[in-house]
Amino acid sequence: MKKRFFASISLAAWLVLVATGLAQQGHPLTGTWIGDWGPPNSTQRTHLTFVLMWDGDKVSGTINPGPDAIHLPSVALDVTTWTIKIDADAKDKSGATVHISAEGKIENLGSPHRTIAGTWRQGTTNGDFKITRD
């Protein structure tokens, strides 16, 4: 029992350290973001993983890295409002191109686990999305 309690406390302390002490402090978009999108108020959500990188000129990256990766040539960031715009082309099950456009706002900018939430349109489907920096 004592061991379990100690382990729980240690894990909590480690999580706090990770959350506060080891945060990425560079460009606010750089890093891995995890979340989902779907129609409003729907429980049918689609997983999203974003990997973003600032190269000094633009932010680019990948949605869902791996065999079904979607290349993100650029992510527009307005630093006066901390809003972003994304345009990318994905493939549906038939291999046809489906355009994705999304707009969102960075919340909790100072937090290591800041979020981006906003609207998501994929093909003819409108929805919302939320991703949290890992």
């Binding site: 506060t20 002490g21 945060a23 560079g26 460009h27 960031l77 630093v79 901390w82 100072g110």
Partner: protein, 367 residues
């Protein structure tokens, strides 16, 4: 008795007890508080010691207040002894209250009521040490440490934060908070995102500063951190160690064995980067890359990326003065390379004292 008075135009230069002043993000420097009551507890922890006292208000209700009295090392230097305050001593404390409704304050004066004795008063600073030439090794190189048989370390810097040299003096408080946020453009040649991040950190009073979580003060910030530092020169090993007295007693290696600098892509990124040093006359020039993005490299919240490249120049101009100059080159964050410099004073005949950053230590004893 509790008296809390709002002083609308109180200037930010409130006289604090000690060099390591209370954090603006924790305390509201535009208000004052006066407290009186018996001491119930003392907590002697880094980075700040606390006195607790029971305070009775006009209705007779007693509440327990936590009052920050300064950094333990500074207190000791200013004459603290175990008998300075005893449990039960009735004290009158003037200070700055915490933001919000917390029963917490930072003291600007503490007086023992029965004797009228003022405690925690900074001791008179020692006179500047006598001028002398920089000590040298037998081979003629300037020594970065004490002369043989002597003690000492590098102490206070003449600056509190990095500011581009060519823009002149930019007023800040001792945490690097700008007096006028509109001066941000004078601090460094920011790219737009970096300026926006810097201004965000300034507007939020540096509350997200990683150093509060005991993250190492990498980059030039190591030379702006309280409690000083010292160089350990090891020419036989081809290296110079920089030992910090503050932070978490971190240490940094400067390689002087002639190895070439690597490339950032090959390095394991770290808080102090990969440092390669060489001497040019009496100046040690250190080239560093390979920094991670987990720290702020200056007080005040300057951002950087993994592209950060620093060239530091250390010149001991005499026994008591170290001139420090750094060129910051981070093309993902700043529009061009820029320089900042300051001097650091020698603390003679003393050694760095034990100090360990204790993350959020007060949360363990303040309700």
């Amino acid at each position: 008795m509790i008296k809390v008075a709002t002083i609308l135009a109180l200037c930010l230069a409130v006289a604090t007890l000690h060099a390591q002043s209370p954090a603006t993000s924790t305390y509201d420097r535009e208000r004052k508080v006066k407290l009186e009551g018996p001491v119930t507890r003392l907590e002697w922890v880094n980075p700040r010691a606390f006195v607790f006292l029971d305070v009775r208000d006009a209705a007779g209700t007693v509440t327990n207040w936590a009052v920050e009295i300064g950094n333990p090392l500074d207190l000791e230097k200013d004459g603290w002894k175990g008998s300075t305050l005893r449990l039960g001593d009735v004290v009158t404390i003037e200070g700055i209250p915490a933001r919000g409704q917390k029963r917490q304050a930072a003291a600007t004066s503490v007086v023992v009521k029965t004797t009228g004795r003022r405690v925690f008063t900074p001791a008179a600073r020692k006179a500047a040490p006598a001028a002398a030439p920089a000590p040298r090794w037998p081979n003629g190189h300037v020594r970065l440490g004490p002369a043989p048989g002597k003690k000492g370390y590098w102490g206070n810097a003449s600056a509190v934060a990095l500011v581009e040299d060519s823009t002149g003096k930019v007023p800040t408080n001792d945490e690097g908070l700008l007096t006028n946020l509109s001066d941000a453009d004078r601090v460094a040649p920011f790219k737009p995102w970096a300026k926006a991040v810097y201004e965000f950190r300034q507007r939020t009073l540096l509350v997200d500063d990683p150093i509060r979580a005991c993250v190492p003060p990498g980059g030039p910030r190591q030379f702006l951190t309280p409690h000083g530092f010292q160089f350990i020169e090891q020419p036989e090993l081809g290296r110079i160690l920089v030992l910090l007295g503050g932070g978490d007693r971190n240490w940094r290696v400067i390689h002087t064995d002639g190895r070439p600098q690597g490339t950032a892509a090959e390095l394991v990124l770290s808080y102090f980067g990969n440092s390669i040093g060489k001497w040019e006359g009496d100046t040690l020039i250190v080239d560093s890359i390979g920094f991670n993005e987990r720290f702020w490299f200056s007080n005040g919240g300057l951002p950087h990326t993994e592209s950060l490249h620093l060239v530091e120049r250390f010149t001991r101009t005499d026994m008591n003065t170290l001139k420090y100059e750094v060129t910051v080159d981070d093309p993902r964050t700043y529009t061009r390379p820029w320089k900042s410099s300051w001097t650091i004073q020698w603390v003679p005949d003393e050694e760095i004292q034990e100090y360990f950053c204790e993350e959020n230590a007060e949360s363990t004893f303040i309700r």
